[in-house]
């Protein structure tokens, strides 16, 4: 800083020029922000605000009449007599169950995988690729694949279980809690690689000398993990936790393809129901209100998680 100041021309002589430069400098960051701001406004901000507007109406984009209903679409979510009440809360419950069971696994298992893959052993690159590979597949591919594998009567999973003498009639896709076990299991298998890669990057950012120092102080494997690895991963962890919660709460494709919401509507997630309401029944006002409710709930959860990680910092 001091060096840079020193090579600048004397302040008095360049008074006017500097003013010009300063105002120019003031605009620069905004110019850099402009392209993204435009995209953000067009594809996120404007639709989001428009969504609020839609949620205040009985909205079908093809009908000429879009009656204003005020907060009725929101009120219906809390009115047990409304046609959406049961289905909506059922779907929120489904999303809640899936999130509660998938998030811990998706935080812990990839961490274990990343720790293993961070060590030097022959074939490491191959295993890194193997764990990441399912993530490359689209949800339609993994959904159909597992629907066939998990078929309760004709699937390979039950056939294999039966061959080793285990019960061969588990309703993996049509019964509870099996459907949840399938959905969580498939999701963990599918997305494990993504979180593992992020952890791996975080692990490689932890300075080696911290481990050396710990070892000099006589720390064992466990102490190393607790006092060096985990604190070193905290920023990455915060990202992984929030990102995983949001991704799980937005689960759609797996349940849509593997269980189709069955049994009944037990595994129909909030996003599935919102899509049904808005895009199949064309009640977009109601669907928008549900989306906003879900968004608020997720915002709240995100804030709590942020708080938790910040308090640990202090």
């Amino acid at each position: 800083m001091a060096v840079k100041e020193a090579v600048r021309p004397p302040a008095v002589a360049a008074a006017t020029g500097r003013k010009k430069a300063r105002s120019h400098r003031g605009a620069t960051p905004y110019l850099f922000l402009l392209p993204y701001a435009l995209i953000f406004a067009t594809f996120t901000l404007v639709p989001a605000v428009y969504g609020i507007w839609i949620s205040l109406h009985d909205w079908d984009y093809l009908l000429p009449g879009k009656p204003f209903v005020g907060l009725a679409n929101y009120a219906a979510l809390f009115d047990w007599a409304s046609p959406v009440f049961d289905f909506f809360w059922q779907s929120m419950q489904a999303t809640g169950i899936f999130t509660v069971f998938s998030v811990p696994l998706l935080i812990v298992v990839p961490l274990g995988v990343a720790l293993l893959l961070n060590r030097a052993f022959p074939g490491r690159t191959l295993f890194r690729a193997v764990y990441f590979a399912p993530y490359v597949l689209g949800v339609a591919v993994i959904g159909l694949l597992w629907r066939f594998l998990l078929d309760p009567n004709l699937g390979m999973v039950n056939a294999a279980l039966g061959a080793v003498g285990l019960p061969a009639d588990t309703p993996w896709t049509t019964g509870l809690p099996w459907a949840w076990i399938s959905l969580v299991g498939v999701t963990v298998w599918w997305t494990i690689g993504f979180n593992a890669v992020i952890y791996l990057a975080g692990l490689q950012d932890i300075p080696r000398d911290l481990y050396d120092a710990a070892r000099v102080d006589g720390a064992g494997r466990w102490a190393e993990f607790r006092h060096v690895t985990l604190p070193g991963l905290r920023p990455v962890l915060a990202f992984v936790v929030i990102n995983t919660i949001l991704a799980s709460a937005n689960m759609f494709g797996q349940a849509y393809l593997i269980t189709q919401g069955a049994p009944g509507v037990e595994t129909r997630t909030a996003i599935m129901y919102i899509a049904d309401e808005g895009l199949r029944s064309y009640r977009m006002g109601s669907a928008a209100a549900m989306s906003y409710f879900l968004t608020l709930a997720l915002l709240l959860v995100s804030v709590i998680v942020f708080r938790l990680f910040r308090e640990k910092d202090t």
Binding site: L62, G65, F78, L150, P152, L154, D169, R280, Y282
Partner: protein, 444 residues
């Protein structure tokens, strides 16, 4: 909460009514009124086109074996009409019904398309499709030329929006080899409830679960609908004011299906498509499935199979059926040439419906259906023999929303999570609310 509901109701009614007035003012043609609006006194549309060259886009959901058949019909039409070029795009049906209205609303919609009969009223009410009374007039098509329920299903608010192309009923497919193993005559499949249950018992004695009861719309809900009609019931009343599927016939129908599971004629927890696959690999003897299954089974090497009309389980004959219909979509630019050319196309393909039958469908046209050429298609005509016993949902906008609640009930009951009567009553409560909502929304 109650206050809110009333206020909402009042507002909905008020604005709904003014919406209806608006709709009325547009002559039901929505934002882009078109000449030759329709109604029963519409002038016949042209059957030939001599204007300048036009290109028409034709969208549908024929993703299966029916796709290539339709493509070859389109090619034939293009060759016969050098001044009209039709290009065909295929989407998954589920995507198609979301894409088309959006495309039409932005003015990028296709000129022509296919719609299932239960979608026609919804799309007519939403201003997606155009009236086609003039095509019906120029084809000189009347109710007698088709099966009356199919023909009537294309009418909404006393205007015709759809020209039926085919009907695709449910039939009883059976695996001949499996029947033989149980000592049953593969050439004489059961036709009554007694015969059917006797056959299932014979199969059970050989350790075969003869009829896999699917809890999903394909094929479980379709079976439930067939049986409800067989027991003399209806899914909805004529005006679709209230659901009737939870009444006695519906309960009997669903109980019959659930009993298949309870009595061991079907395994528990049949997943999507497992019933159809089980027939193919000899694990099941019967599968009540749509006529499209003909093509699938033809492709399975070494499979000995047959198909017949559904057995009569209830007090009368009845079978579920779907129907593909031609529709013409609303356009931003009101190009008379394109509209005329489109009608010529519909007319042409409609007359080719025997070719279409080879794709695994029953032609909607009576003369084609009763001709010797169709009778030569053994499987198709076996299923087609049910033509007088077919039922369709009432032609009311948004009916599919209410029918979706039925899917849930059938699913819960066949997976043994709820008693049939309770599952249906719960669903009917929901369906009633949805019908009421839709009435307000579409100004019915």
């Amino acid at each position: 909460m109650n206050n809110n509901l009333t206020r909402r109701g009042l507002l909905g009614l008020g604005v709904g009514a003014s919406g209806a007035v608006l709709l009325g003012a547009c002559g039901d043609d929505g934002p882009n009124p078109v000449v030759n609006g329709g109604g029963s006194d519409a002038q016949p549309a042209a059957t030939t086109y001599s204007g300048p060259n036009v290109t028409l886009t034709f969208w549908n959901g024929f993703t299966g074996g029916d796709g290539p058949v339709m493509k070859s019909l389109v090619d034939k039409f293009n060759a016969a009409n050098p001044n009209i070029k039709v290009t065909m795009n295929v989407y998954e049906w589920a995507d198609y019904y979301q894409k088309v209205p959006a495309a039409v609303s932005t003015g990028n919609g296709p000129d022509l398309g296919i719609m299932h009969v239960e979608q026609v009223a919804t799309n007519a009410a939403r201003g997606v499709v155009l009236p086609l009374d003039d095509v019906a007039a120029s084809l000189q098509l009347k109710e007698e030329d088709f099966s009356p329920p199919v023909w009537r299903a294309g009418v909404y608010n006393s205007k015709r929006y759809a020209i039926p192309l085919d009907v695709h009923p449910q039939g009883m497919f059976y695996n001949k080899k499996v029947l033989r193993t149980a000592g049953l005559d593969p050439e004489k499949p059961p036709t009554t409830n007694e015969e059917y249950l006797a056959a299932l018992d014979a199969l059970k004695a050989k350790g075969i679960q003869g009829h896999w009861a699917s809890p999903f719309p394909f094929t479980g809900v379709h079976q439930f609908e067939s049986l409800t009609w067989q027991f003399g019931g209806q899914l909805f009343d004529e005006a679709a004011g209230k659901p009737l599927f939870a009444e006695e016939p519906g309960v009997k129908a669903l109980t019959w299906l659930v009993d298949l599971v309870k009595k061991g004629y079907s395994p528990k927890n049949v997943a999507q498509d497992a019933d159809a696959i089980a027939l193919q690999n000899g694990k099941a003897a019967f599968n009540w499935n749509g006529i499209w299954n003909i093509n699938t089974l033809n492709g399975v090497k070494g499979l000995e199979w047959g198909v017949s009309a559904l057995p009569q389980i209830g007090t009368q004959k009845a079978a579920w059926a779907g129907s593909h219909n031609f529709v013409q979509f609303k356009q931003k630019a009101n190009d008379q040439n394109k509209l005329t050319a489109g009608k010529v196309f519909i007319n042409y393909i409609s007359q080719q419906s025997l070719e279409w039958a080879k794709g695994g469908q029953v032609p909607a046209r009576k003369e084609v259906r009763e001709g010797t050429d169709f009778k030569a298609l053994k499987e198709q005509s076996a299923i087609g023999s049910q033509i007088d016993d077919l039922h369709f949902p009432p032609s009311v906008p948004g009916i599919a929303d209410a029918m979706a609640t039925m899917d849930v009930a059938v699913n819960e009951a066949i997976l043994l999570r709820k008693e049939p009567a309770k599952a249906l009553a719960d669903a009917a409560g929901k369906a009633g609310q949805i019908l009421e909502q839709n009435k307000k929304k579409y100004g019915g």
